[in-house]
Symmetry: C2
Subunit: 143 residues, 2 copies
Amino acid sequence: MRKDSRLSRVLHALIHLHHYGKPATSDDLGKMLGTNPVVVRRTMAALREQGYVSALKGHNGGWSLAKPLTEITLYDVHKALGEGSVFTIGLTDEHNNCPIEHGVNKALRDVMQEAEALMLARFKQVSLAQLASEFERHDRTGG
Amino acid sequence: MRKDSRLSRVLHALIHLHHYGKPATSDDLGKMLGTNPVVVRRTMAALREQGYVSALKGHNGGWSLAKPLTEITLYDVHKALGEGSVFTIGLTDEHNNCPIEHGVNKALRDVMQEAEALMLARFKQVSLAQLASEFERHDRTGG
DNA sequence: CCTTATGTAACTTTTAATGTTTCTTGTGTT
DNA sequence: AACACAAGAAACATTAAAAGTTACATAAGG
Protein backbone atom coordinates (compact mmCIF):
# COMPACT_ATOMS: atom_id res chain seq x y z
CA MET A 1 0.00 0.00 0.00
CA ARG A 2 1.37 3.36 -0.96
CA LYS A 3 2.87 5.25 1.95
CA ASP A 4 2.68 8.92 2.81
CA SER A 5 6.25 10.04 3.44
CA ARG A 6 5.46 13.73 3.74
CA LEU A 7 6.04 13.77 7.49
CA SER A 8 9.44 12.13 7.25
CA ARG A 9 10.35 14.37 4.36
CA VAL A 10 9.30 17.64 5.90
CA LEU A 11 10.96 16.91 9.24
CA HIS A 12 14.12 16.21 7.35
CA ALA A 13 13.73 19.53 5.54
CA LEU A 14 13.11 21.53 8.71
CA ILE A 15 16.24 20.29 10.41
CA HIS A 16 18.30 20.98 7.33
CA LEU A 17 16.83 24.48 7.28
CA HIS A 18 17.94 24.92 10.87
CA HIS A 19 21.54 24.20 9.88
CA TYR A 20 21.50 25.99 6.58
CA GLY A 21 22.29 29.53 7.71
CA LYS A 22 20.37 31.18 4.87
CA PRO A 23 17.06 30.63 3.13
CA ALA A 24 17.03 27.35 1.22
CA THR A 25 15.34 27.27 -2.16
CA SER A 26 12.93 24.49 -3.03
CA ASP A 27 15.60 23.32 -5.40
CA ASP A 28 18.18 23.12 -2.60
CA LEU A 29 15.77 21.21 -0.40
CA GLY A 30 14.77 18.96 -3.25
CA LYS A 31 18.36 17.89 -3.66
CA MET A 32 18.77 17.26 0.07
CA LEU A 33 15.58 15.22 0.20
CA GLY A 34 16.03 13.35 -3.03
CA THR A 35 12.91 14.77 -4.60
CA ASN A 36 11.94 17.66 -6.84
CA PRO A 37 11.22 21.30 -6.04
CA VAL A 38 7.51 21.15 -6.77
CA VAL A 39 6.97 18.41 -4.23
CA VAL A 40 8.95 20.48 -1.75
CA ARG A 41 6.77 23.53 -2.31
CA ARG A 42 3.60 21.53 -2.09
CA THR A 43 4.57 19.91 1.18
CA MET A 44 6.13 22.98 2.76
CA ALA A 45 3.03 25.01 1.91
CA ALA A 46 1.16 23.20 4.67
CA LEU A 47 3.79 24.26 7.18
CA ARG A 48 3.78 27.82 5.91
CA GLU A 49 0.04 28.03 6.48
CA GLN A 50 0.57 27.08 10.11
CA GLY A 51 3.35 29.61 10.59
CA TYR A 52 6.26 27.20 11.07
CA VAL A 53 8.16 28.37 8.01
CA SER A 54 8.08 31.35 5.67
CA ALA A 55 9.00 31.68 2.04
CA LEU A 56 10.47 34.61 0.15
CA LYS A 57 10.48 35.03 -3.58
CA GLY A 58 13.25 36.46 -5.70
CA HIS A 59 16.97 36.72 -5.23
CA ASN A 60 18.28 35.22 -2.00
CA GLY A 61 14.77 33.98 -1.41
CA GLY A 62 13.67 30.53 -0.34
CA TRP A 63 12.44 28.85 2.82
CA SER A 64 13.27 29.86 6.38
CA LEU A 65 12.15 28.71 9.80
CA ALA A 66 9.57 31.07 11.28
CA LYS A 67 9.83 29.47 14.72
CA PRO A 68 12.74 27.90 16.58
CA LEU A 69 12.91 24.12 16.52
CA THR A 70 12.29 24.09 20.27
CA GLU A 71 8.76 25.30 19.57
CA ILE A 72 7.85 22.70 16.99
CA THR A 73 6.95 19.12 17.92
CA LEU A 74 6.47 16.08 15.74
CA TYR A 75 2.80 16.43 16.55
CA ASP A 76 2.70 20.00 15.24
CA VAL A 77 4.18 18.94 11.94
CA HIS A 78 1.97 15.90 11.66
CA LYS A 79 -1.08 18.04 12.32
CA ALA A 80 0.00 20.72 9.87
CA LEU A 81 0.07 18.12 7.12
CA GLY A 82 -3.59 17.40 7.75
CA GLU A 83 -4.62 14.59 9.99
CA GLY A 84 -6.07 12.01 7.73
CA SER A 85 -6.25 8.59 9.26
CA VAL A 86 -2.88 7.20 10.22
CA PHE A 87 -3.82 3.59 9.48
CA THR A 88 -3.89 1.53 6.35
CA ILE A 89 -6.62 -0.50 8.02
CA GLY A 90 -10.01 0.76 6.96
CA LEU A 91 -13.55 -0.06 7.95
CA THR A 92 -16.21 -1.24 5.56
CA ASP A 93 -19.05 1.07 4.73
CA GLU A 94 -22.02 0.20 6.86
CA HIS A 95 -24.61 0.30 4.14
CA ASN A 96 -27.07 -2.34 5.20
CA ASN A 97 -27.46 -1.77 8.90
CA CYS A 98 -25.91 -5.09 9.88
CA PRO A 99 -25.26 -5.20 13.63
CA ILE A 100 -22.35 -7.59 13.12
CA GLU A 101 -20.66 -5.13 10.81
CA HIS A 102 -21.30 -2.35 13.31
CA GLY A 103 -19.83 -4.38 16.14
CA VAL A 104 -16.75 -5.38 14.18
CA ASN A 105 -16.11 -1.84 13.06
CA LYS A 106 -16.59 -0.46 16.54
CA ALA A 107 -14.08 -2.91 17.97
CA LEU A 108 -11.51 -2.07 15.32
CA ARG A 109 -12.16 1.64 15.61
CA ASP A 110 -11.68 1.54 19.39
CA VAL A 111 -8.33 -0.19 19.11
CA MET A 112 -7.13 2.08 16.33
CA GLN A 113 -8.15 5.18 18.21
CA GLU A 114 -6.23 4.05 21.24
CA ALA A 115 -3.12 3.31 19.18
CA GLU A 116 -3.41 6.63 17.39
CA ALA A 117 -3.79 8.46 20.68
CA LEU A 118 -0.60 6.85 21.95
CA MET A 119 1.20 7.79 18.78
CA LEU A 120 0.08 11.41 18.92
CA ALA A 121 0.98 11.64 22.59
CA ARG A 122 4.50 10.46 21.75
CA PHE A 123 4.67 12.92 18.88
CA LYS A 124 3.81 15.72 21.29
CA GLN A 125 6.71 14.75 23.53
CA VAL A 126 9.35 15.19 20.86
CA SER A 127 10.45 18.62 19.68
CA LEU A 128 12.41 19.05 16.50
CA ALA A 129 15.19 20.53 18.63
CA GLN A 130 15.46 17.20 20.43
CA LEU A 131 15.56 15.36 17.14
CA ALA A 132 18.25 17.67 15.82
CA SER A 133 20.39 17.35 18.93
CA GLU A 134 20.05 13.58 18.98
CA PHE A 135 21.30 13.29 15.49
CA GLU A 136 24.20 15.63 16.26
CA ARG A 137 25.23 13.56 19.28
CA HIS A 138 24.88 10.42 17.19
CA ASP A 139 27.00 12.05 14.53
CA ARG A 140 29.81 13.12 16.87
CA THR A 141 30.14 9.74 18.50
CA GLY A 142 30.49 8.23 15.06
CA GLY A 143 27.96 5.43 15.74
CA MET B 1 -5.13 7.20 0.87
CA ARG B 2 -6.72 3.94 -0.09
CA LYS B 3 -7.64 1.81 2.88
CA ASP B 4 -7.35 -1.92 3.34
CA SER B 5 -10.70 -3.10 4.61
CA ARG B 6 -9.94 -6.81 4.40
CA LEU B 7 -9.71 -7.18 8.17
CA SER B 8 -13.06 -5.53 8.80
CA ARG B 9 -14.58 -7.52 5.98
CA VAL B 10 -13.29 -10.92 6.95
CA LEU B 11 -14.20 -10.50 10.62
CA HIS B 12 -17.68 -9.63 9.50
CA ALA B 13 -17.71 -12.77 7.37
CA LEU B 14 -16.47 -15.05 10.14
CA ILE B 15 -19.15 -13.98 12.57
CA HIS B 16 -21.83 -14.37 9.94
CA LEU B 17 -20.46 -17.86 9.28
CA HIS B 18 -20.80 -18.64 12.96
CA HIS B 19 -24.51 -17.85 12.82
CA TYR B 20 -25.21 -19.31 9.45
CA GLY B 21 -25.82 -22.95 10.39
CA LYS B 22 -24.57 -24.30 7.08
CA PRO B 23 -21.70 -23.60 4.73
CA ALA B 24 -22.00 -20.15 3.17
CA THR B 25 -21.07 -19.74 -0.46
CA SER B 26 -18.83 -16.91 -1.57
CA ASP B 27 -21.91 -15.51 -3.20
CA ASP B 28 -23.85 -15.57 0.07
CA LEU B 29 -20.99 -13.86 1.89
CA GLY B 30 -20.56 -11.38 -0.91
CA LYS B 31 -24.15 -10.28 -0.46
CA MET B 32 -23.76 -10.01 3.29
CA LEU B 33 -20.58 -7.98 2.95
CA GLY B 34 -21.65 -5.84 0.04
CA THR B 35 -18.95 -7.12 -2.26
CA ASN B 36 -18.51 -9.77 -4.91
CA PRO B 37 -17.70 -13.47 -4.60
CA VAL B 38 -14.21 -13.27 -6.06
CA VAL B 39 -13.10 -10.76 -3.46
CA VAL B 40 -14.57 -13.03 -0.81
CA ARG B 41 -12.61 -16.02 -2.08
CA ARG B 42 -9.44 -14.06 -2.34
CA THR B 43 -9.68 -12.72 1.18
CA MET B 44 -10.94 -15.93 2.77
CA ALA B 45 -8.13 -17.87 1.10
CA ALA B 46 -5.68 -16.32 3.54
CA LEU B 47 -7.75 -17.60 6.45
CA ARG B 48 -8.05 -21.03 4.89
CA GLU B 49 -4.28 -21.28 4.62
CA GLN B 50 -4.02 -20.66 8.35
CA GLY B 51 -6.66 -23.23 9.19
CA TYR B 52 -9.37 -20.90 10.46
CA VAL B 53 -11.90 -21.79 7.79
CA SER B 54 -12.37 -24.53 5.24
CA ALA B 55 -14.06 -24.51 1.87
CA LEU B 56 -15.96 -27.24 0.05
CA LYS B 57 -16.76 -27.31 -3.61
CA GLY B 58 -19.93 -28.52 -5.22
CA HIS B 59 -23.49 -28.79 -4.05
CA ASN B 60 -24.04 -27.62 -0.48
CA GLY B 61 -20.46 -26.46 -0.52
CA GLY B 62 -19.10 -23.16 0.67
CA TRP B 63 -17.19 -21.78 3.62
CA SER B 64 -17.27 -23.12 7.17
CA LEU B 65 -15.43 -22.30 10.35
CA ALA B 66 -12.63 -24.77 11.03
CA LYS B 67 -12.12 -23.49 14.58
CA PRO B 68 -14.55 -22.13 17.16
CA LEU B 69 -14.66 -18.35 17.47
CA THR B 70 -13.27 -18.67 20.99
CA GLU B 71 -9.99 -19.79 19.46
CA ILE B 72 -9.60 -16.96 16.99
CA THR B 73 -8.47 -13.49 18.02
CA LEU B 74 -8.42 -10.25 16.07
CA TYR B 75 -4.66 -10.66 16.05
CA ASP B 76 -4.89 -14.09 14.44
CA VAL B 77 -7.02 -12.74 11.63
CA HIS B 78 -4.88 -9.67 11.17
CA LYS B 79 -1.79 -11.84 10.98
CA ALA B 80 -3.41 -14.30 8.58
CA LEU B 81 -4.01 -11.45 6.15
CA GLY B 82 -0.27 -10.77 6.06
CA GLU B 83 1.26 -8.20 8.32
CA GLY B 84 2.19 -5.36 6.09
CA SER B 85 2.73 -2.09 7.88
CA VAL B 86 -0.34 -0.83 9.64
CA PHE B 87 0.45 2.84 9.05
CA THR B 88 -0.06 5.16 6.12
CA ILE B 89 2.96 7.07 7.38
CA GLY B 90 6.05 5.97 5.52
CA LEU B 91 9.72 6.74 5.82
CA THR B 92 11.81 8.18 3.04
CA ASP B 93 14.42 6.00 1.41
CA GLU B 94 17.77 6.72 2.95
CA HIS B 95 19.73 6.92 -0.23
CA ASN B 96 22.37 9.50 0.51
CA ASN B 97 23.53 8.60 3.97
CA CYS B 98 22.23 11.78 5.56
CA PRO B 99 22.38 11.54 9.36
CA ILE B 100 19.43 13.93 9.69
CA GLU B 101 17.29 11.66 7.59
CA HIS B 102 18.42 8.66 9.61
CA GLY B 103 17.59 10.41 12.86
CA VAL B 104 14.17 11.52 11.70
CA ASN B 105 13.31 8.10 10.40
CA LYS B 106 14.49 6.41 13.56
CA ALA B 107 12.35 8.68 15.71
CA LEU B 108 9.28 8.04 13.60
CA ARG B 109 9.96 4.33 13.39
CA ASP B 110 10.28 4.08 17.18
CA VAL B 111 6.95 5.77 17.78
CA MET B 112 5.18 3.77 15.11
CA GLN B 113 6.55 0.51 16.42
CA GLU B 114 5.31 1.33 19.89
CA ALA B 115 1.86 2.23 18.61
CA GLU B 116 1.71 -0.89 16.49
CA ALA B 117 2.76 -3.05 19.43
CA LEU B 118 -0.06 -1.59 21.50
CA MET B 119 -2.50 -2.24 18.70
CA LEU B 120 -1.43 -5.86 18.25
CA ALA B 121 -1.54 -6.42 22.00
CA ARG B 122 -5.13 -5.21 22.03
CA PHE B 123 -5.95 -7.39 19.05
CA LYS B 124 -4.64 -10.40 20.95
CA GLN B 125 -6.98 -9.65 23.84
CA VAL B 126 -10.14 -9.84 21.75
CA SER B 127 -11.51 -13.17 20.53
CA LEU B 128 -14.11 -13.31 17.81
CA ALA B 129 -16.40 -14.98 20.32
CA GLN B 130 -16.23 -11.83 22.45
CA LEU B 131 -17.00 -9.71 19.42
CA ALA B 132 -19.94 -11.90 18.50
CA SER B 133 -21.38 -11.86 22.01
CA GLU B 134 -20.98 -8.12 22.33
CA PHE B 135 -22.94 -7.53 19.21
CA GLU B 136 -25.63 -9.93 20.37
CA ARG B 137 -25.98 -8.14 23.69
CA HIS B 138 -26.03 -4.82 21.88
CA ASP B 139 -28.67 -6.20 19.58
CA ARG B 140 -30.95 -7.48 22.35
CA THR B 141 -30.89 -4.27 24.32
CA GLY B 142 -31.89 -2.45 21.18
CA GLY B 143 -29.24 0.27 21.62
C1' DC C 1 -23.72 -35.73 -17.39
C1' DC C 2 -25.15 -31.50 -15.36
C1' DT C 3 -25.12 -28.20 -11.80
C1' DT C 4 -22.93 -25.96 -8.07
C1' DA C 5 -19.18 -23.79 -6.05
C1' DT C 6 -14.27 -23.03 -5.21
C1' DG C 7 -9.63 -21.85 -7.34
C1' DT C 8 -7.22 -18.97 -10.18
C1' DA C 9 -5.60 -16.03 -13.81
C1' DA C 10 -5.90 -11.73 -16.22
C1' DC C 11 -7.41 -7.35 -16.59
C1' DT C 12 -9.60 -2.88 -15.13
C1' DT C 13 -10.70 0.58 -11.66
C1' DT C 14 -9.78 3.41 -7.76
C1' DT C 15 -7.27 6.76 -4.77
C1' DA C 16 -3.90 9.76 -2.95
C1' DA C 17 0.84 10.71 -3.02
C1' DT C 18 4.42 11.68 -6.07
C1' DG C 19 6.74 13.17 -10.41
C1' DT C 20 6.86 16.48 -14.15
C1' DT C 21 6.03 20.38 -17.14
C1' DT C 22 4.58 24.86 -17.80
C1' DC C 23 3.11 29.28 -16.68
C1' DT C 24 2.18 33.19 -13.48
C1' DT C 25 3.44 36.23 -9.77
C1' DG C 26 6.40 38.58 -6.87
C1' DT C 27 11.04 40.45 -5.58
C1' DG C 28 15.74 41.85 -5.67
C1' DT C 29 19.64 43.21 -8.94
C1' DT C 30 21.72 45.64 -12.64
C1' DA D 1 12.94 49.42 -17.12
C1' DA D 2 14.72 44.96 -18.07
C1' DC D 3 16.26 40.81 -16.21
C1' DA D 4 16.99 36.89 -13.27
C1' DC D 5 15.52 34.27 -9.51
C1' DA D 6 12.29 31.76 -6.84
C1' DA D 7 7.70 30.71 -4.96
C1' DG D 8 2.79 29.68 -6.34
C1' DA D 9 -0.13 27.10 -8.82
C1' DA D 10 -2.45 24.54 -12.50
C1' DA D 11 -2.55 20.46 -15.35
C1' DC D 12 -1.32 16.02 -16.36
C1' DA D 13 1.27 11.46 -15.87
C1' DT D 14 2.95 7.83 -12.74
C1' DT D 15 2.69 4.58 -9.01
C1' DA D 16 1.07 0.94 -5.75
C1' DA D 17 -2.14 -2.08 -3.65
C1' DA D 18 -6.90 -3.15 -2.79
C1' DA D 19 -10.95 -3.92 -5.02
C1' DG D 20 -14.01 -4.91 -8.95
C1' DT D 21 -14.82 -7.82 -12.96
C1' DT D 22 -14.71 -11.45 -16.42
C1' DA D 23 -13.57 -15.88 -17.80
C1' DC D 24 -12.32 -20.44 -17.28
C1' DA D 25 -10.49 -24.63 -14.94
C1' DT D 26 -11.27 -27.93 -11.17
C1' DA D 27 -13.74 -30.62 -7.96
C1' DA D 28 -17.80 -32.66 -5.90
C1' DG D 29 -22.71 -33.77 -5.28
C1' DG D 30 -27.15 -35.20 -7.56
